[in-house]
Symmetry: C2
């Protein structure tokens, strides 16, 4: 009757809802993409997926009901609209299936489709990143990624934090964390220069040289010293030429900043926050986690549950050095040295987390010289082997099994004089940064915050190994496709 | 006893919680910044704010209890820690106040503080954007901004959409919406060129010329045609040299994209979504809205409630032209013409929304030539005055009182051939965009989506007039401060 306008359009049911439905015998309409088709003796079975869940709904078709020219077009990747009856499934592993009464081909898919074959490598799938969200694994990762973002917003909202949008284009490079991307509207074919040969930026869009931010922290401190508790969550950039499974040129970062927070409260926040995210994943992403646990990392769910069970160890850096040096005495071999004052290598962190404590560790009270200028200096110097060491700061790194550092935070130095002392002794160019120093000049307050690389969290929660596989379209050296 | 370590540190209570507390007589500790101080006869009153709410808590101090050198330092902008007793307030407009037993100055504030005086102009406050979040108005705006972001995430999460992070650095400029910012790590003092004098980008970070994105829509379509329903919410860039109260070079955009959605469902989504956000503001930002309604825009709350009451008008463009031409016949004067095919000016939209219908309007079925290439072409041409007009597309603009266009959306052309026809006839450079065309090649599906300029929403919900005042650190021509 279609075409006469007499047949009312049936409302689409999402696959996730269709699979929960037990109203057997009811008419139903689902739409989605063909994951696979098989058949024999005039009956065919289509696994249809619409992205709402990792699970497919099974469509059962009878070739005496569905016209041959339609059946021919039901190929892997094709997009279908299926009307039929929801029936109890005789097959194991699924409660229901749909007996098709009508199938429309919304979009065909020929055999040049790049996702024809199963078991494609991660490398290959990166070359078709525009289509890989249609695979089981990337569907699962992206639904979990969404859920982790939702967990972050919900956590902070429920705890009275305000989402604070710090700018991405910036005229300051304070922390100097890695090389920056320049942002310009200048005509590169006609660069004006002054008499010394320096490029003039008067005519650039912002009237000065600008770059993409490497962190929203400094602006975040402006928010915290006004609104009390804020967080940022947005893209961040590093122009490091690092072609590793741990680096992206464009990644997402979460940075809460809290007025009146001290070191103990900061560590409590870090632990509570990350456990909340992991719990959210376990509570809300069961099907996707089970898939990943089966196909990607058999220890995944156990590791996630493990994090929730343990209280994180609070470990002063100096105590960590003691443990590592004791281990070396007892025959443990490390590639890199670990004298007091050294930045710990990944092998040291893994030893402490995975072998010694067997639980997450929040390391703190780091040597001042290996941490950023804005960290609050401890009142007392630590003692190692009876000797007084150099100054330490109230920095914290949260170290996780398998992933290493997942959070870096600190109490911020709130004293104008001490902060200026660090800025001067480190030679940090702050001439354009009086706005930052004003936080210490006008009603300065103790405050603290941390940064979480969002993709690090997604790696941990999905069990994936390469950071390029937990963001839809990775930006890395020589790669800005899609 | 402090200093001896015998006095346990009292846990801080946020001002928002202190004001709700009726446990009179209890010990309490609040921390925050001095908004004002007044006093007489040995008693002083401090209005203390910690950003958790627009309301201040009143601190009552007795100069026989609080040492003189402390009292002297309690100046506007100073940061205090106050311990005392929560008591019922004799003053009107507040349930409780705090009788201070101990005040610590966490950070002093001298009379160079840029926010000393009340009633500073918007222009002046933009020059101290690093401090303006400490004012009543900007505190209110930023708390509402947070709430609108939370409303957006919650709405989409509850409706089964996945937050999809599209890249900011892009090698494609498909829509060509305004000039773009170039992103580069090239040494501008040593630009390599080929024999034709063209700059070579082989040695740039991404190995090709890249810019900041003007929209995540095209990548969003990749997400929707895999996950079903997605949304983006992130920074977006336009290098337009527009110094107006409506333009930012860096702004936040929300872009849902939905597989299998048709025009009616799209309009339903647009209306439902925006009403959800406005309702969230009314339900969750009462104090801040009441402040803005009093101080910034006396019609604000009424306008917000008005939007919730009305069903939005669905108005085909051609019908809109008829109404406007009828109005002109009846003596209405417009500055700009409005013949069929013209892009409507703000005055036309305002007439329809504010004078003719007196409610929000979703205009649709626009002439193809004034809309983007990816919009689905209508099956039938419209008729005006008995004559058949040119082709129209399934685009929608949601027009609001006071603010004009707040949402622009469309059904997307899902036919590969029709889409290619538009691309070719418009001369759009698509050579690097085969990934986008693949959505129409492999299992193409009907889909639709819209874009909402987040700051437009914040303007509407706060009653503010200048877009620079609804984002913490505006980026505009010649301005990238902070």
């Amino acid at each position: 009757m279609e075409g006469l306008g007499l047949n009312p359009i049936m409302k689409r049911t999402k696959v996730i809802d269709a699979l929960k439905c037990t109203d057997f015998g009811a008419d139903i309409c689902v739409k989605g993409w063909v994951r696979s088709k098989r058949g024999s003796k005039g009956i065919f079975f289509v696994a249809l997926n619409d992205g709402s869940t990792i699970k497919n709904v099974q469509i059962v078709g009878d070739e005496t009901v569905i016209p041959e020219e339609i059946v021919k077009q039901i190929t892997t990747g094709a997009c279908l609209s299926v009307e039929g009856k929801l029936v109890e499934s005789p097959a194991a592993g699924q409660a229901s299936e749909i007996q098709a009464t009508k199938i429309d081909i919304l979009g065909t898919c020929d055999n040049t489709y790049p996702l024809q074959k199963k078991g494609a490598s991660w490398e290959y799938l990166r070359t078709v990143a525009h289509l890989r969200p249609r695979t089981n694994t990337f569907g699962a990762i992206l639904r979990i990624r969404h859920n982790m973002a939702m967990a972050i917003h919900t956590y902070f909202h429920e705890h009275g934090y305000f989402y604070f949008h710090t700018p991405l284009i910036t005229a300051s490079d304070c922390e100097g964390a890695g090389q920056m991307f320049q942002v310009t509207t200048k005509n590169l074919y006609d660069l004006k220069k002054d008499e010394n040969g320096s490029i003039i930026y008067d005519d650039d869009f912002f009237g000065k040289q600008t770059s993409l931010t490497v962190s929203g922290q400094l602006e975040g401190e402006l928010g915290a010293t006004a609104l009390g508790s804020i967080y940022t969550f947005g893209p961040t950039f590093r122009a490091e030429n690092s072609n590793t499974p741990r680096h992206l040129a464009e990644f997402w970062m979460v940075e809460p900043e809290v007025a009146f927070m001290d070191l103990d409260e900061l560590m409590e926040l870090e632990e509570d926050f990350i456990k909340y995210c992991v719990r959210w994943a376990l509570d809300n992403c069961k099907d996707d986690l089970e898939f990943l646990n089966k196909m990607v990392d058999k220890g995944l769910i156990e590791r996630l549950e493990g994090v929730l069970k343990e209280e994180f160890v609070h470990l002063p850096y100096t105590e960590g050095i003691k443990i590592l040096q004791e281990a070396i005495k007892n025959g443990k071999k490390f590639e890199f040295p670990c004298e007091w004052g050294d930045d710990l290598a990944s092998e040291h962190e893994r030893y402490l987390v995975e072998e010694y404590f067997k639980k997450p560790v929040i390391m703190n009270h780091y040597p001042k010289k290996i941490k950023a200028f804005y960290m609050k200096i401890d009142a007392e110097k630590p003692v190692l082997d009876g000797k007084e060491m150099e100054e330490t700061v109230q920095g914290t790194d949260v170290l996780f099994p398998s992933i290493g550092e997942i959070i870096g935070g600190s109490v911020r130095e709130e004293s104008y004089d001490k902060l200026m002392g660090e800025i001067e002794s480190r030679g940090i160019p702050m001439k354009d940064m009086t706005w930052y120093l004003d936080t210490r000049k006008y009603g300065s307050c103790p405050h603290a915050g941390f940064g979480l690389g969002f993709e690090r969290l997604i790696l941990f929660v999905t069990g994936m190994q390469n950071i390029r596989d937990v963001i839809p379209f990775p930006r890395t050296p020589k790669n800005a496709e899609f």
